[in-house]
Subunit: 179 residues, 2 copies
Amino acid sequence: MSINYTILGILKAKPMSGYDIKKEIQASSYLPWSGNNNQIYKALTQMSGEGLLVGETLHRENGPTKKIYRITEKGIQELSKWIDETKAEIPDIKNPFLIQLYVASMAEPDRIADLLVQYREQLEEQLLIQNELIRRNKAEKKYDQKALPGIDMIYDNVIDFYRTQLEWADTALYKLKKE
Amino acid sequence: MSINYTILGILKAKPMSGYDIKKEIQASSYLPWSGNNNQIYKALTQMSGEGLLVGETLHRENGPTKKIYRITEKGIQELSKWIDETKAEIPDIKNPFLIQLYVASMAEPDRIADLLVQYREQLEEQLLIQNELIRRNKAEKKYDQKALPGIDMIYDNVIDFYRTQLEWADTALYKLKKE
DNA sequence: TCATCCATGTAAAAAGTTACATGATTTT
DNA sequence: AAAATCATGTAACTTTTTACATGGATGA
């Protein structure tokens, strides 16, 4: 249910519509949902029912009607409570490439080098994309002063992750050749 | 459906029972499933029906009856086909701690330092666990010569990942204090 | 004109987790 | 004597994804 708290957090920063939240989630690399409607709109109506949010319908001349949701006092309290009770959670490793590598090791070990080269290439591309995304977000000054240290850390984490994967792939290829 | 191919890969290495597969998955850090029965036993009966596996029922005097599954020629072909067609997939970032950090940044930025310290501690513990797990697996000589390079790479990847997280947490804490 | 974006919502399916059920054996 | 492990399977639930449905506005 942490998507509910994520949405509360997003709305704490700034009131917005379901569609905006969807884009926010899709644009971020660290919010791990696909940004599908089903979860977001359901969460919004549910949390409105619980009084954690209020949605204001905005009829506009040009463009479709939209609902702007804002967090309520009750919502802020619920959110704070969750954060206070939350313990830091360490990640499991969820890397589909490691599965590919594992299965290939069992059945087609000769394909390992090829897979590593592909992985490497895609990581380089991904690093460019992520750096550009971060650069753009920083230019937009999307987050307020207090939130900034946390946001910057998240960006660093994302870059560190992909960079480590890239270095690992290089080392792995080097070791393969040496044999 | 990649759990099916993972199971095929496991059985390519060595015929075994559903229960054995379950333990194999639970013991590994890179196979990202909980190792719940539902998926495994379902996959086994399904793939047996497709002729990719054959299960041999083994009645034993002491202990319960078990079914040993082995991969068929058809299964080997299906597996090879999948590996040949597979393109290296780069991972999304699925780190619940980054969500916690994001939400905390929005609502309770003063908790960031505390969360980082907790994260750091758990990562140190996790590194010990993973190193021990790998040491034990290597001692058991579980994998055959051909598969070994791939398996060693996977172990390196796991350690690199947690170590990078730990270094990141240290840097993040240092930067926080400096402000 | 055709595709994409804005905007809200629903339906159906797939993937994954937890818990239940059973029963023998082994370990504490 | 109680708890854990071995071993197979099912039921119920949660989470997540993909696709469908609608319709105006904007852009190539």
